[in-house]
Point group: C2
Chain length 110, copies 2
């Protein structure tokens, strides 16, 4: 499912996120991905399955190899969800500045 929940869940694990980052850099077969990681090849295969179900990567057979690449639509919902709170974060930042200014005024005993 390519919703934001599964995407967030998939990217939470450091190893799986490393797999995703590797695939995002450039498409690669499973073996190559596993070579650059401290886990076994089946582990990478399992991570790729999760990433695929989360809509973050795509795969296609190429002979005996299976090439994984980033799924363009995967990061969309996640980014949209994040931006939803970007405004709230900025508002909070503005409120912080205001409160800080008030504090400075209160604390101006020499």
């Amino acid at each position: 499912m390519a919703n934001m929940n599964s995407a967030l869940l998939a990217l939470a694990d450091p190893t799986r996120r490393a797999v995703f980052e590797r695939v995002a850099r450039s498409p690669a077969p499973v073996g190559d991905i596993a070579k650059g990681l401290p886990v076994s090849r089946p582990a990478v295969s399992q991570h790729l399955k999760v990433l695929k179900e989360a809509g973050l990567v795509l795969d296609h057979a190429e002979g005996a190899r299976r090439i994984y690449r980033i799924d363009p639509r995967g990061l969309g919902p996640l980014r949209a969800w994040l931006d939803q709170f970007w405004g709230a974060a900025l508002d909070a930042f503005a409120a912080d500045l205001e409160a800080q200014a008030k504090d400075d005024k209160d604390d101006d005993h020499d």
Copy 2:
């Protein structure tokens, strides 16, 4: 730790994400947050602790209550990390379009 790893890990859990969304909407004490959720108050308190250590929320005492609000700096690293792969996703999308066009035309390659 206010890095992107802990932020991603904190937001992965649906309940904890609901807590974060509630806090982001408007600052509130723990009891009020727990009222709108299907888990106990201690559970909310634990989630808030994780969110706080991830740099996603801030708290300040207000009498016996403890008001939690969003931490403006929390989403920054996460958003930055996400944008790092936004370009790769767009590139992949462009590659998809190109491949599709090639398929449609059944043309030989560039």
